[in-house]
Symmetry: D2
């Protein structure tokens, strides 16, 4: 990366080759860095749930979310199949239940959402590079029928362990990082040092940029989805690779800095982290309440449980990640 | 219930009045028995994650699920917005990214499902009784816009704690309970005694009937969704009320015994547990692997983390419940 | 309407009472002014298809449509169940067809859209006024299960007849009417006179404002959906009522002038035309090519066939209206 | 076809080569036999609308339709965004309209359906054969983004003309053809002769098998979707090719006889008619009322207007076909 020309596809390939985890866990692997999660680390993580304080790290799933149509993504939609008014007016009694007593009736609903529309994990099948996905599987394994390799349901019992919050702006005594600010591996290490927390293999790293606090203060998502944002830069990749973390999540739309550092690659860290390293990446995590708690007691580690839905063939999953201190 | 005529709406009302938790936690409460969850109990629950063995208690979310159209419910649908073939053929390059390098492209997908179609929690707003939902809120609070009271997102950081498996058929030395077999409070207590586990306030109770093992062996869901099933009977309600559990889930479609014991009320326990008691009820939990583990080491308690998605106004949520031993 | 204070809900009620068609066709009627369509008029309309020139009056149904989220409406979504890449890679062969020859495979897709998102008819059940819909049916007849009265499928064989284009801007020698410009009954009559065409009972009136030409020239829909627009004003209602037309459609989002003339009623003509008169209203019709044809040969009448989909309980329907000259 | 072995993929190829229309209308053609529609033929067709009797040829679009999940197809779903109960209870007033007068409110809904789930046209892009679609376009032109060639919107102003009903069972003095009964070109010609109607180039041929009458009498769709059915046989293809009809539709799920005559090809006529000939094929047409009318007055020709929705990239479209006598 110490180059005088701006980074481009060649830079991505060069870093990718150094940080690749393809075949590291065998030719059939679909989990990538989630392989760093072990029963021992799960048990150690659980011991961090000392006080029983529980934080939901999810934003609201509804039509007021951040999506504005980019990449064909839309905000979660919610429809009722039957509602309380049906009970009151007796609509469903006549339609469904014949002679059955109408005194008690159920309501039902439907959720319709891109898996990447709100708080979510990216599956390893989410990114193709040169016609391949993680571990060298062919991109055509992800067809209109879904992903047959490296889909999110492979991770259904794997996203449990020690969580560590890196509150980058707080460590730098800022309210938030500015859009366009790239976070390096050095910055991550400095933040951990300042917080007095060590990163260990198998950890889930929650990296706060503060952008969600910024849009909250603005009172509008604005261009949060796809616009300029602080986030991980190319210089964070070797550090993340060396750290052997199991997963990484941020409070931004796309985890990485925008505008992207590369002149000709859209979201280059997605290629590096997901396609090359097989790192499970989370986005749009709501970290404000957890960060305030950590700032209060100066404990930045916790038990982290963030299971994806078991969506067969999914290239992502909506989630409600839980941190327990 | 000591009556010589079959139970009916009057029976439901009578039990409901005795077991009601309306106003127990104030007139504004939307959590019901999830109020039994306290930080102390969460921390105690976490201590049960001793070995770090993680179980996903979800069935697969896909078009091969159990739904057959009853109550207008359908199996989860999964559509691709962009897939790997688009990357290979370059379709999306031309459509989205103009001059951007096509070497790396993302895949995206959409999930569409009734919240009650696979493994899920019922929200307290899921059931109306005499024009009211839990805590006396008017049924019209659940409109075509969703539930404004007692919706599932209210519980987003509350479904964490000690889990206990009651493996009813195994305690009775059966492979599974037969359809139509009602489980009483006495049977639940006998099972707990046999397993050597005490039920405590704030617990999440996972009740295995074995029906999922039965349909697995049959190789087909058959009439699992809405057909005859073993499950909780009216005689379990006072016991569940007295136990002060925070939530209850089973491995069946509808938690309660079918055919229902009442002559004129559909799913009477839904009224009793959800509308009167404010108990969060889970359905279609996959308990087979967890049950085998518990049978092996005779430890029937574990840490339980099963966060609902934060669906604004949802009357239910798809989940991937996690048990950690 | 000759009032010195701005129109409000009282104005709407006053006009509504004068122009109401409730009970005109009996207490069970669900068709409103479509009752003006008779076999004789249909046959007369068909005679206008003299040259066999066919015009589709629909805009494209896709994600690039005019919707921006207002009223929870979104642009049509289109998903593939199986695509050509599946055929090439053999994905679906393995999944569906076992030993069947893979040389020939089908592609399948799904459409998901608000019925009012693109070119469409409003059903008479689309508007409630004082808790009632057209003909005095209770608004609760339109429940989460759809409309049990006055739904769009009632009109499935009724929207056929003589069509007349009123090209208002061209008659006024303008390219388009400006946003905020209200069209009166006098203006409609003047346009018809200028064009040398008589309006007859049972006609379908296509009223061009030119707004679609304007957004086309702008290269963006802008605030077409719900923003300021030219359109029908309150002063057109008595004329439309007297004319006994069967239906009316425009090339704008909402048929009527915006900002609305009323201080306290949203889209007052929807109440008047749909709820009181029972007039079937069409919106977002693409009239540019037809208008150019009419300007060329000075024939403003044609055969008009615009069947709604037979959506049970629909309060609207997407359509592809056809004009034949 | 005069072969002693059962037809297979080679038979399909052999007939296909004889009946192919590839390049007949140039290398850029996306309309196939709809090219036979000309203004003159449209005008002639319109003259058949003599009495003004209008028939809707669509089945109902709702959850009670024929689909049972085959090919991942499902019955049309209909959701309300806002309903009349919202108006009565004021839900949407609070949510949407702030201070606006609640006396008048709109209802809105959403339709979600496979384009092939009820009465519909197949687009020419619906069928791939040896990696190609009609006119030799590559199958990958039909990607997860939809069909870029030969999609249904190409036909938006083309499906208008003379319609002819061939009531095959009535001509044979039967109520309906039995499942498995293949209709040959000779049978079609005999039916036309018996009815005293000539088939002409550019016609739209509606072929009644009576299967819909049969399922109506049974009171259940049964295995209508994908099960055994009467329908077009391989021996009808040369006749249909020679006839130069613009389109063909039937009252069955899949137009062709089932079980299929070929041992190793699923729905071989789809390959022949759609991929090779470029013939627009309609399915699940409701022909009962029209057939009764034709039997009454012995007039089997009419004006036919059946525009597809203008679904960008659609490989099919739901329709409400209109016949006017």
């Amino acid at each position: 990366m110490a180059t005088h020309t701006p980074p481009d596809i060649r830079t991505v390939r060069e870093i990718g080759e150094k940080c690749s985890n393809w075949k590291r866990w065998g030719g059939q692997d679909e989990l990538g860095t989630l392989n760093f999660v072990t029963p021992q680390r799960v048990a150690e993580g659980a011991r961090l749930a000392r006080q029983g304080r529980v934080y939901s790290l999810s934003i609201a799933f509804d039509e007021r979310g951040p999506q504005t149509g980019g990449l064909m993504r839309f905000n979660p939609m919610h429809f009722m199949l039957r509602d309380g008014a049906n009970a009151v007016t007796g609509t469903t009694v006549r339609d469904f239940f014949g002679g059955v007593n109408r005194h008690t009736l159920g309501t039902d609903d439907v959720i319709f959402m891109p898996t990447h529309s709100a708080t979510h994990w990216d599956a390893l099948a989410h990114i193709t590079f040169d016609g391949k996905i993680y571990n060298g599987y062919d991109a055509t394994e992800v067809s209109s029928r879904g992903a047959r390799k490296a889909s999110i349901d492979a991770a259904r019992d794997k996203i449990v362990g020690r969580g560590v919050l890196l509150d980058v702006p707080r460590a730098q005594e800022k309210r938030w990082l500015e859009p366009g600010e790239a976070i390096s591996g050095e910055a991550l290490q400095a933040c951990a040092d300042r917080q007095g927390v060590a990163i260990r293999p198998g950890d889930f790293l929650l990296i706060r940029t503060g952008q969600m606090a910024q849009v909250q203060q603005q009172g509008s998502w604005g261009s949060y989805a796809g616009g300029d944002a602080p986030g991980l830069g190319l210089a964070s990749v070797p550090w993340l690779h060396a750290s052997q973390v199991a997963g990484v999540a941020t409070d931004t739309w796309g985890a990485e800095v925008r505008p992207n550092e590369t002149s000709d690659v859209f979201q280059p860290l997605h290629s590096l982290l997901i396609a090359f390293m097989g790192l499970t990446v989370g986005e749009m995590f709501y970290l404000e309440d957890l960060a305030a708690d950590c700032a209060r007691d100066r404990v930045y580690e916790f038990f982290f449980v963030a299971p994806p839905l078991r969506i067969t063939g999914g290239v992502g999953s909506p989630i409600n990640p839980i941190a327990i201190k």
